[in-house]
Amino acid sequence: MTASSSPEFVVRTLRHSRRQWLVVVLFALLCASGLSVSLGTRDVVWADIWAGATGNTETMAQAVVAVRVPRTVLAVLAGAALGLAGAVMQGITRNPLADPGILGVNAGAAMAVAIGIAWFGMDTLDAYIWTAISGAGVAACFVYTIGSMGRGGATPLKMALAGAATSIAAVSFTIAIILPRNDIAGGIRMWQVGGVGGATFEAILPCLPFLIAGVTLSLLSARSLNLLALGDEAAAGLGARIAWARAAAALGAILLCGATTAICGPIGFVGLVVPHVCRVLVGVDHRWLLPFSALTGAILLICADVVGRIIARPSELDVGIVTAFIGAPVFIWIVRQRRVKEL
């Protein structure tokens, strides 16, 4: 055995490259945020950015920057939440295709909010968040239960089909609710495609406690996700309480998805793409994978938002559409990569 392939060497290089990647990713996040504040439908110069960022809104350009700052913050939060939620879901289900969008969790959250607005006259942000989180929870449990029935447990194919069918039913029901209500149709249309435009700090604040709780739960379950990756029997043999570990991690992911959907609407595919990229960068250890997924998710969502602002000038493309167009090809690529038996 040569020195370069010894286990210690591999571990040491991996650790080294992880630190390098961490620096790279943090730097990229910084650059992306800078771009997000400076680029857009209207061009601004550095002086305006500085003035706008410090709260000055005298000129048009400064006002634009002042609007873009909360928008960027929301993109960072939502992207991080979705990336993290995706990594957790893929870990829990041991399914490379798990994603809040594919599994119908976002559609469930959106339907719950539509019901709340149309039937119960909900109009506060707090109510939206609670409703979205319960909707996400119900949809997630539902899809997982259906997908894991029968022979072979929760195979990716069954989960994806159950999620797709649930999405169709949820979307159909959402339309049924809003169709006769002309007064709210415009308000709910935003629940069909997610976006981060029009964000304000007042709207972001109520979500923070949920996001923090979700992040904490998810990061704490990194170790048990590592054990679950070995298979249920092995994990139980190594002392993991499988059901508890799954439930805690799932609750974290649901909090993240629900809170994000409550402010931004359903944004798909971030949770699918990001963990796959991160696995290439830092390996399969969830203690590294989860934080990296959060950071990369934030970068992806900011970039998608910037792209959406630039390519559709003078109007904007919602970020949910951009992520779908980035994510669906990745989804198909993953499907093509895996051997049939694994799927």
């Binding site: 069918a165 495609v193 798909g268 499907v335 093509r336």
Partner: protein, 348 residues
């Protein structure tokens, strides 16, 4: 002694087969009767009751004051488009389910009708088109998306699993495209475009029914002549080849015909939710498994759309397009079906 018992066994088998064939044709006749009854009820009974005599006179071509407009212009085209589209969806759906050997693999879930409606929505909202041009674009897009799914799933051959998953990925992309286009729509074309999201036979004309009828005749008969091949493919490619089925050629014909049925029907009525998905399993359940469900599935599809449209128009508070009703009716059945098919292992 042994020969005698063998003859009786053969006789018994033959008798059983005859009985099964008879019971199937009885069931098919019953469903056919139900579709006709539904057709008759839709013609007679709407917001107001039209006497059957008047309906018959309108159908015969004579001008009946008060009934000619309601029956001839409003109800008749609507009922005919419902039946034609329903049959297309039912037949196309059951063919996909049989060929991919998965009851969940229907064209509405794997994105073929989504492709057709994405193109239609784009043509209506962005290009301002209407009428025949929209239908043609929808049909072409249906074929295009089906081809794309097939090519993307190709990797030393195509497996059902990969085809379904690629379809789900593409349809998620197309759905977000539709949602984007709709968000750009001025409110007057929103109702029109919403049809392409859920499926509806509102304002159907006889002109819309003709392409669907033509595709039913052409593609439907192509499919019915390939029934045995489809049944053999259900056993898996190797068995089908062993049974003497030219799999590659027949599969191409079958896919082309099924996609044609779905795309043309989608162009006429929009993607009526879950009809393609539900008809096959319902038909199988009624006539029993192990028998060819194609004709029964087509008839069930027609019945679903007729009933769904009637319920949405007259029995619910407010008026809903048929796709909403079938979507809502379909959801609980879907849950039941997934639960059941997974239990028996078919859903894998």
């Amino acid at each position: 002694m042994s020969t005698a018992s063998q003859t009786t066994l053969a006789d018994q088998l033959a008798q059983m087969r005859q009985q099964r064939a008879r019971s199937r044709s009885r069931v098919v006749t019953t469903i056919c009767g139900a579709v006709l009854a539904g057709f008759a009820v839709t013609l007679c009974l709407g917001q107001s009751l039209t006497p059957p005599i008047d309906v018959l006179r309108v159908l015969a071509g004579s001008d009946v004051p008060g009934a000619s407009f309601t029956v001839g212009t409003l109800r008749l085209p609507r009922a005919i488009v419902s039946i034609m589209a329903g049959m297309s969806f039912g037949l196309g759906g059951v063919v996909f389910q049989a060929m991919l050997r998965n009851p969940l693999a229907s064209p509405d879930i794997i994105g073929i009708s989504t492709g057709a409606s994405a193109a239609a929505v784009f043509a209506i909202v962005m290009l301002g088109w209407s009428g025949l041009a929209v239908s043609v674009v929808a049909v072409l897009a249906g074929f295009g998306v089906a081809l794309l799914i097939y090519l993307l799933a190709w990797r030393d051959g195509v497996t059902g699993t990969r085809l379904i998953l690629v379809g789900i990925g593409l349809s998620a992309m197309l759905e977000s495209f539709i949602a984007y286009v709709l968000s750009r729509a001025p409110s007057w074309s929103l109702q029109d475009a919403l049809r392409w999201l859920t499926g509806s036979v509102n304002g159907a004309t006889l002109g819309q029914a003709f392409p669907v009828l033509a595709s039913l005749i052409v593609f439907g008969s192509l499919l019915l002549t390939r029934q045995r091949a489809i049944e053999a493919m259900r056993l898996g490619d190797d068995s089908a080849i062993a049974l003497g089925v030219p799999v590659a050629r027949d599969r191409a014909i079958v896919i082309l015909s099924a996609v044609g049925l779905i795309a043309v029907a989608t162009a006429a009525s929009g993607p009526i939710a879950f009809v393609a998905f539900l008809s096959g399993p319902i038909a199988l359940r009624i006539i029993g498994s192990g028998k060819s469900p194609f004709i029964a599935a087509a008839l069930i599809g027609a019945l679903l759309v007729l009933i769904g449209d009637y319920v949405g128009q007259h029995l619910l508070p407010g008026r809903y397009p048929v796709g909403i009703v079938t979507g809502a009716l379909g959801a609980p059945y879907l849950i039941y079906l997934i639960a059941r098919s997974n239990k028996s292992g078919e859903g894998k």
